[in-house]
């Protein structure tokens, strides 16, 4: 069995599962951000089950409009706060948590071998730890919170093998953008992705979170990394809880095996208006930009902040452009502050925000006007994603974003730092 099949078998009391089978699986963690919580609570009440199945395995957090941007979003946060208190669940309010997919692994809430469901499509981020983590709608999440179970169709697994040594400036963001560019936004539809090969192993945990985060952008249910020493070290440093990892069997059956040689890869950029419209940076051309956003559940972790600060330290943001930096959690913010990264951002002329999903989903903290163009380290560049339907979004990693912020156009980091 593959990693995905092993985890689903273990959570449905079966010795073996096959792709296409329907199984009821037990859930180790279920969570919802404030924007989806009203629908979750509405569905929960209709179930006529009084209490969540285990308040220690249910999490709520404010992140999409954090802090609340207006009265309707304040009402959503209030409803969430009251429900979390009523049920005694784990809860992260403004100033105590951060973006859900940065927060959940960082707080030791996600572990290898677990089944994790969240009311947000980027729940697949925790697949980097070898957890079967997947996003669902509000009704599914309400059922998971009430009963501790969800139904799943066992997905086929596609294995991705990244050969070679990572060139300088090539990160997890580039590997996943390249992959989505190759297979398309439905290239792994309904499937589990397994990320392997020496280049995937070489990635640090933050780079792996970035890759798993964007599995959904290829249509996948989950994006899994095998557990190795880096995973174990991360778990030790983040809660140090016991876990049972699931390794793929030697004779595991894959729907497909896709291999890449990364040794000559360049940083990648997704062009509007779909994440599969990917080009190597040398073929992007002269693209002027109005705004750079560095952060999000894709690239809002400490190593992302370091990559951006390495370029922005001692330099200035281009005068025709504004740069917004958003650490993904309070912990990332604090670590970045203590390392002096935040000072580098502020001195360069960047606006540094408290953790929020804000601009990535076009909610607040940096909305685009018509005709404006942004380069963002987030995961979606759909029409209207960050504001006006007449605006455009390009996607790239944090070093490219920082270099572009300095030069005012999409730029390779080498153009700024040699």
């Amino acid at each position: 069995m593959t990693i995905a099949e092993k985890i689903l078998a273990a959570h449905s009391g079966r010795e073996k599962v096959e792709p296409g089978e329907f199984v009821n699986v037990s859930v180790d963690l279920a969570f919802a951000q404030e924007g989806m919580t009203p629908l979750v609570v509405e569905a929960f009440r209709q179930l006529e089950i009084d209490r969540v199945f285990d308040p220690g395995k249910v999490v709520f957090m404010v992140d999409h409009s954090c802090p609340s941007k207006d009265i309707p979003s304040a009402e959503q946060s209030k409803l969430q706060r009251e429900f979390a208190k009523e049920q005694g669940t784990i809860y992260y309010d403004v100033g105590r948590g951060g973006i859900e997919h940065v927060l959940i692994p960082e707080q030791g809430l996600a572990l290898p071998g677990q089944v994790i469901v969240g009311a947000d499509s980027h729940t697949c981020t925790s697949g980097a730890l070898g957890a079967f983590a997947t996003g669902m709608g509000a009704t599914d999440i309400a059922v998971a919170m009430a009963t501790g179970e969800v139904w799943m169709k066992v997905p086929p697994t596609i294995k991705f093998v990244y050969h070679g040594k990572l060139p300088k400036w090539v990160t997890g963001k580039d590997l996943i953008l390249h992959t989505i560019g190759d297979i398309g936004v439905d290239g792994a539809r309904y499937s589990a992705m397994e990320f392997t090969g020496e280049a995937a192993s070489e990635l640090d945990m933050d780079g792996r979170f970035t890759m798993s985060n964007m599995a959904i952008e290829a249509g996948a249910k989950v994006g899994l990394f095998p557990v190795d020493e880096k995973t174990r070290k991360y778990i030790t440093e983040h809660g140090n809880k016991p876990f049972t990892a699931c390794e793929p069997d030697k004779d595991a059956r894959y729907a497909d095996v896709i291999e890449y040689d990364v040794s000559k890869m360049e940083p990648q950029v997704a062009i509007p208006n779909i994440p599969s419209n990917v080009k190597p940076i040398s073929r992007v051309g002269d693209v002027r930009i109005d705004q750079v956003v560095i952060g999000a559940c894709t690239n809002g972790r400490l190593n992302d902040m370091r990559a951006a600060a390495q370029i922005l330290k001692g330099r200035k943001i281009h005068e025709d452009l504004r740069c917004i930096v958003i650490p993904g959690s309070q912990q990332v913010y604090l670590d970045a502050l203590e390392e002096g990264l935040i000072e580098s951002f502020v001195r360069a002329g960047a606006a540094v925000s408290t953790p929020t999903c804000g601009p990535c989903a076009g909610l607040h903290m940096g909305i685009l006007a018509s005709g404006e163009r942004a380069l963002s380290t987030s995961n979606r560049n759909f029409v209207g994603r960050m504001g006006s339907p007449e605006s455009e979004v390009y996607l790239a990693g944090p070093a490219v974003a920082a270099a572009s912020a300095v030069l005012g156009r999409i730029a390779h980091p080498e153009e700024v730092v040699s």
């Binding site: 629908l39 059922v143 009963t147 936004v185 249509g219 979606r380």
Partner: protein, 166 residues
């Protein structure tokens, strides 16, 4: 049950941001969602839509976010169902869970034009294009999903399953 309505036709990868942009989701006013349904792909959609009409699209309909507001807004706008060549995973289960009829038929989806008159039998999955006088058969749902659909959605299904256990 046979339903008759006009087709509103779109292409591949109609994502949930096109169905209902996130900029309206910090607000729980469903009338607001309906007013902006599909606006970033078709500004005339809401004005042109008559209750009972169908959305028809090609591959990967509903890709992107997990927002259940996407099938909800389509249902609340008065759309009788969505016919597509294929659906994105989360949209598919959200639609089943909340009771928005969805039919998977690459042949019907590709052949249908904007404005075609359709007659759809949700029980049998038969799609008749009255404009082109062609008939198509949608792929049947697996038994497990039929169970959820026939019980009236995931809430009713779960209440049934956990009756007396809570």
């Amino acid at each position: 049950m046979k339903l008759k309505g006009k087709a509103h036709k779109y292409g591949a990868d109609v994502n949930t941001d096109l169905i209902i942009p996130a900029r309206y989701l910090h607000n729980d006013d469903r009338a607001l969602w309906v007013a902006h349904c599909m606006e970033d792909i078709d500004t005339e959609f809401v004005k042109r839509l008559k209750p009972g009409d169908f959305i028809v699209a090609t591959t990967n309909f509903g890709c992107g976010s997990s927002r259940e507001q996407a099938p909800i807004v389509i249902k609340e706008a008065g759309v009788a169902g969505v016919i597509a060549s294929s659906f994105a995973r989360i949209f598919f289960r959200n639609a089943i869970n909340i009771g928005l009829p969805i039919l998977e038929s690459p042949e019907a989806s590709e052949a249908t034009q904007m404005g075609d008159e359709l007659e759809v039998d949700l029980g049998t999955g038969t799609i008749q294009n009255l404009s082109s006088k062609k008939t198509y058969q949608a792929q049947p749902f697996p038994d497990f999903m039929r169970g959820i659909i026939e019980t009236g959605g995931l809430i009713a299904y779960t209440r049934e399953r956990f009756k007396g256990k809570a």
